[in-house]
């Protein structure tokens, strides 16, 4: 079995930057990612798509090629198309690639597993034709596939980015239905001075809004009572905005109200997590280098708390410095000297966050969905079901599995975990930290018997 100094999971900006940096200090590094090509969510397929669609996707996207080429030149072993499904003490990683399971061991591990879109459970959100806004963006980046008649629903900078990219690609969204209200903006205003230190982001945001306005995309703000209509697929979005009931016919609905850390792998290792009330999600507890509560387990990028792509890249480098120091490859004084400019860059990147978090809070209705709304997409458990279990004495997310299979489908709670925590917390009047989150056990993703059998064969081959 291959033995490495460092195994990194996730080839987004955090993982790519960390891998190249750690290799530069002489560590043997393996980078695993389930995608066929490096880039992560933001720089998805950047080596190919930047040439084809650079104009549409913008300069920030093309920046990803600097990371992919540094990775290529670094000597890091990048195993693409590898789904990591178990991390055991020591550390032993199990993954599936091309229908075969395989394993490797590493002294230290860095989780750079990125973010997931926050679930936005609304009536009708399970219908075909309803996707996350990030999914719409992935269709565009990776495949050049555009929705002809889409309504964007939700709030936040990523929603504007996607709308602007659709405008540039020549298929503007049919409308934007936005949930943030004027009072959110007023509340956000007190973070404005901090945000101005991150002025680049503010200007970028205003430019995107101008692009969307010029394209004549109708915007409805302060939307409430949002529901997606349709029998077998999405046909229209219904909502109320400024006291007026609206119904917009469409083929595709892109939902978005922020991203949250993808903590599945960290949870499976029992890394301690705490509730971040500004971002309304759990984040792993990390020190300034990204080391978690479990020794030799590091986390960098959006998986450690939402900061965006540039912050992820810097966090990856910081973690690599510390890992190199702990491996005896870098004196502490040298590490600190190299970290200083990175810390300044990180502070700069994060300056606009408090403003953004306050201006575009997650949509209240989707944080506390109506009783009849499905919240667990896999097992079709509703918000009312969860509230019912709470009345019967169910206090924690792990118990809901026993009560009604919520979180037991193949997605393993990725799209219902936070909602279940929120519903139980509200029902019992207790903070999310007390309610807790699903315990995550391997396999992180389903693995088939055939894939396991293929691994045993490989083991025998090696032994012979």
């Amino acid at each position: 079995m291959t033995q490495r100094d460092l195994a990194i999971i996730g080839a987004g900006p955090a993982g790519m930057a960390a891998a190249a940096q750690a290799a530069a200090f002489g560590l043997s590094v393996t980078l695993l990612d389930e995608q066929p090509r490096p880039g992560g969510q933001i720089y998805r397929d950047v080596d190919r798509a930047a040439g084809l669609r650079g104009e549409v996707l913008g300069a920030d996207y093309a920046h990803g090629t600097t990371l992919t080429s540094a990775l290529r030149q670094s000597g890091v072993e990048h195993i693409s198309g590898a789904v990591v499904w178990a991390i055991e003490d020591g550390f032993r990683l199990s993954y599936t690639r091309a229908g075969r399971a395989a394993q490797l061991t590493a002294g230290r591990i860095l989780l750079a597993t990125g973010a997931l879109e926050r679930p936005m459970p609304l009536p009708g959100w399970t219908l075909p034709g309803v996707m996350t806004a990030g999914a719409g963006q992935i269709l565009l980046k990776q495949s050049g596939v555009l929705a002809r008649r889409a309504v964007l629903v939700g709030s936040g900078p990523l929603l504007y980015l996607i709308a602007a990219q659709m405008v540039r690609a020549g298929t503007p969204p049919a409308a934007m239905v936005e949930t943030q209200s004027l009072s959110d903006m007023t509340r956000a205003a007190r973070h404005l001075t901090g945000a101005l230190r991150g002025w680049r982001y503010m200007i970028k945001g205003l430019k995107m809004l101008a692009e969307i306005r010029r394209a004549g995309v109708p915007r409805y703000t302060g939307a409430t009572g949002i529901a997606i209509e349709g029998a077998d697929r999405a046909e229209a979005v219904r909502f109320t905005s400024r006291g007026r009931a609206q119904r917009l016919a469409c083929d595709t609905v892109f939902l978005h109200h922020g991203v949250v850390p993808n903590t599945q792998a960290a949870r499976s290792l029992d890394v301690a997590h705490i509730w971040n009330s500004a971002q309304a999600c759990f984040v792993p507890q990390l020190d300034a280098w990204g080391e978690s509560s479990v020794q030799d387990v590091y986390i960098a990028g959006d998986g450690g708390g939402i900061g965006g792509a540039k912050a992820a890249e810097v966090a990856g480098r910081l973690a690599a410095l510390q890992i190199a120091q702990q491996s005896g490859q870098l004196p502490a004084s040298n590490r600190d000297a190299q970290a200083a400019p990175l810390r300044r860059a990180l502070a700069h990147e994060l300056a606009a966050r408090p403003f953004l978090d306050a201006a575009y809070p997650p949509c209240a209705e989707a944080l506390a969905p109506a009783d009849s709304t499905v919240i667990c997409r896999c097992e079709e458990v509703t918000a009312g079901d969860i509230r019912g279990y709470a009345k019967l004495g169910c206090t924690g997310p792990n118990q809901t599995k026993a009560f009604g299979r919520a979180g037991m489908g193949p997605c393993q709670g990725r799209y219902c975990g936070l909602t279940v925590t929120a519903l139980l917390s509200a029902a019992h009047g207790q903070p999310p930290d007390t309610t807790g989150h699903y315990r995550i056990r391997p396999p992180l993703k389903p693995v088939t018997l055939g894939e396991l059998a293929a691994m045993e064969d490989a083991g025998q081959d090696a032994a012979e």
């Binding site: 075909p128 269709l139 990776q142 929705a147 077998d232 595709t252 997409r377 079709e380 990725r414």
Partner: protein, 99 residues
């Protein structure tokens, strides 16, 4: 390009034949399978085991499992697969989803 599809394809790649639930489809070679199926107008990928409700890709990043299809009897996430010549895909039947 399929005028009936809610999606527009902007790339021209050489096409290969695959079959989806018995229907023959011509998809761009090497493309993301879920994207390619959406682009040719496939609206329903599978039905849920609980209520039989129709589902189609939701996240496109391997997290939601709503894009499941069966390839040679093995259930796989279409958004994590690439199109290749001769793929034989079937819709997982209600009650037969991944366990």
């Amino acid at each position: 390009m399929n005028p009936a599809s809610p999606f527009l394809e902007t790339e021209d790649a050489p096409r290969v034949d695959v079959s989806f639930d018995g229907a023959s489809l011509s998809l761009p070679d090497g493309a993301n399978l879920a994207a390619a199926l959406l682009a040719v107008g496939v609206e329903v990928f599978r039905h849920t085991p609980v209520s039989g409700a129709p589902r189609a890709p939701f996240c496109m990043m391997g997290a939601c499992f709503d894009c499941l299809v069966e390839v040679d009897g093995v259930t796989r996430q279409a958004c994590m697969m690439e199109v290749s010549e001769g793929l034989v895909l079937t819709r997982p039947q209600a009650g037969e989803a991944w366990e």
